[in-house]
């Protein structure tokens, strides 16, 4: 009894519960399986076809991704002789790990007055954004370690894009921090009890959302792994289980960013009665995720220089405007004042 109590109390402690169970590793895996299935089904319905149906036919093929992952595990892992073997194998694993790091500081609900967050710090927003900037570096390393010209071109594109979407993202987050007067994400969510940030400062919301789409290779910015020009960008040479890992990295990144987006702009878990806060949060996250993957069926992809131009001409300017707007609102007396 004592042992079970001990294990349960360890598991339910926020600093283990949040990164491991909800909204951490296990929830991410379930969400990704459902998300990729939803993406394929939505695209299929729009394109007048059926989509995945073979696996678990009665449920509409919902476990297709699980079948794909099982197949990847049994495929042969081919490592080219001229590739940098250590970085070739290590970089997908490291990329996956650092993608999940921001979950340590993102809150996921409140239970009986205690916020569900792993690490309560006063610079949570800054920590989350900085940790999320680590992933593109390892994507570039993946392309370099493959020793393949097409992978190299894909890595270069990822590098170009990285410098175009990071600045607007940081500036939009800064404007939210100015508006609510704190870098702690828990404080920002609690400050949105009466009205969401997205309604006060829509410029910041739009520019953060578009930078998020650009950073996770959703259409129309799916330039890194454009699979009709470069075979799969930096991921060309990967096979078997490593391929499953690298295909999961953009989706995990999308999930983490969406959690951040909902917490910053869409009121987090408010309006919520105590027990259901996490459920409301997950529902909001699912709506934003489904919208992001729906874009695949509508848009072609932009050219690289056009995407960079959008990053600097449109998003950068919009994020500057959002900072000015935040400053004006603060000068006017804060959210309650105006």
């Amino acid at each position: 009894m004592e042992i079970i109590n001990l294990i349960l109390s360890m598991l339910l402690h926020p600093s283990i519960f949040v990164p491991l169970i909800f909204p951490g590793l296990i929830t991410i895996l379930i969400v990704i399986i459902l998300l990729i299935w939803a993406e394929r089904k939505i695209a299929a319905k729009i394109q007048m076809r059926i989509g995945p149906l073979y696996v678990t036919r009665r449920l509409g093929g919902i476990l297709q991704l699980l079948a794909d992952l099982l197949r990847y595990m049994f495929a042969e892992l081919i490592i080219s002789k001229e590739s940098d073997k250590l970085m070739f194998i290590a970089s997908p694993i490291i990329a996956l790990t650092v993608t999940l790091l921001p979950l340590a500081v993102i809150p996921a609900g409140s239970l009986l007055g205690i916020e569900l967050v792993a690490l309560k710090t006063s610079i949570g927003l800054l920590a989350a954004l900085t940790l999320s900037s680590l992933t593109p570096i390892f994507i570039i390393v993946m392309g370099w370690a493959s020793n393949n010209k097409f992978a190299l071109i894909g890595s270069l594109r990822e590098g170009y894009l990285m410098i175009s979407y990071e600045v607007p993202m940081y500036l939009s987050a800064l404007s939210v921090a100015i508006l609510h007067g704190s870098l702690d994400i828990v404080n920002i969510v609690n400050n949105q009890q009466r009205i969401w940030t997205a309604l006060i400062n829509p410029f910041a919301a739009f520019s953060f959302f578009t930078s998020m789409i650009m950073s996770t290779s959703r259409f129309p910015f799916e330039i890194t792994e454009s699979d009709s020009e470069l075979v799969a960008g930096p991921y060309t040479e990967y096979s078997s289980i490593l391929y499953g890992l690298v295909m999961g990295v953009p989706y995990m990144r999308l999930y983490v960013f969406t959690l951040l987006f909902v917490n910053l702009f869409l009121g987090g878990w408010y309006p919520a009665i105590n027990g259901f806060s996490s459920i409301i949060l997950i529902l909001k996250v699912l709506v934003i995720l489904l919208f992001s993957v729906f874009l695949r069926s509508v848009y072609p992809r932009y050219r690289l220089d056009q995407a960079i131009r959008i990053g600097w001409h449109s998003l950068f300017v919009l994020s500057l405007i959002s900072i000015i707007l935040s400053l004006l609102i603060i000068g006017c007396g804060g959210i309650s004042g105006c």
């Binding site: 729009i46 076809r49 010209k149 071109i153 129309p220 699979d227 009709s228 509508v298 072609p300 220089d305």
Partner: protein, 397 residues
Amino acid sequence: MKMVLPKSQNSEKEIELFIGPQHPASGHMRFIGRVDGDIFTKFIPDPGWVHRGIEKIAENRKWIQIIPLVERAAILDAANMNIGYVIALEKLLDIEAPPRAQYLRTLLCEINRITSHLYGFGIAGIMIGSSTFYMWPFADREPLIDIAQLITGSRLTYSYMIPGGVRRDLPQGFKEKALKALKYIERRLNNDYFRLFFDNPVTKARYKGVGVLKKDDAIKLGIVGPNLRASNVKYDVRKVEPYAAYSELEFDIAYREEGDCYARLMVRVEEIRQSIKIIRQILNKMPQGPIIHKKYERLISLKKLEEYQKTGVFGLPAIFATLRPPAGEVISRVEAARGELIFHIISTGDLRPYRLRMVTPSFRNMVLFRELISGARVMDFPAIYGSIDYFPPESDR
């Protein structure tokens, strides 16, 4: 390795790319390019991977056996390849098909033109990343392929036209089904395609101003088809040297002045509209009469004659197996979906042709890869490829 680019000045900065046959964006052919940063400094096409030797095989086949042979050069466009050869053969034999057969031939050619352009749209869509615009045109070819199946009995390779006429007559109830299919295509083209793809700001950003081909360059390089008409040259074989029933039908030549990728796509959209107009006129004005020249109609056996008068299916007479056209040299040209198709046949009065020369429109357009892509960005390559509507098997024959 002979197929290389000449040595470059700064070989340390430039990457040499072989976009080979095993690539999602190349089709059945290879491209060799040199990339400096984001620009192709040099780019050459390397065709020949699907060469089947149609011209050489034709020297070994009887005249009537060449009809299925030349159709396989470009399966999408089989009717136009078919009619080009049959017109050349009829010039040698000095006969002309009866009016109803001419109208039936035109009907099949125009249906083929629409399906070929829809295929081209699908390839253009997937090249710049729009998977929805890849699935929609391919699915919308189905009503038209069903119509073609009603006329000829097969979906893609028809072998419908024979010297002297065509092989089958229209079945009952054809006109209603055809008009229904045309209405569906028109609605899809004018509403859904424009809303999804042609008016999409991302498409316009990828296509406008990209791969501009000026009028003088187009004429100098010998470009044909919608690519030529998008550069302000109003040349269409159906108006210059009318064949089949085109001299009696009303339609306009689709053309644009800008010469960029968007103009080439819009010329194809307009051609689909004109083809729909032509098919509607054919269905209204179709004359009654025989579908095969009387010289051959007299030569089939009595039993087959009864079957022909009952079902409208014409079985080939035995004389076609030993057809010997008189000696001579003929040139025929037709407007296939991708441009002008030339047949140059030399006969010595034998069972087989002495020389069959077939110049397909894709082969004449191949030089556009070198001219338009050298100096363009790497990501312009799929956009330009999709807009030229190049079909490697048609080019290699």
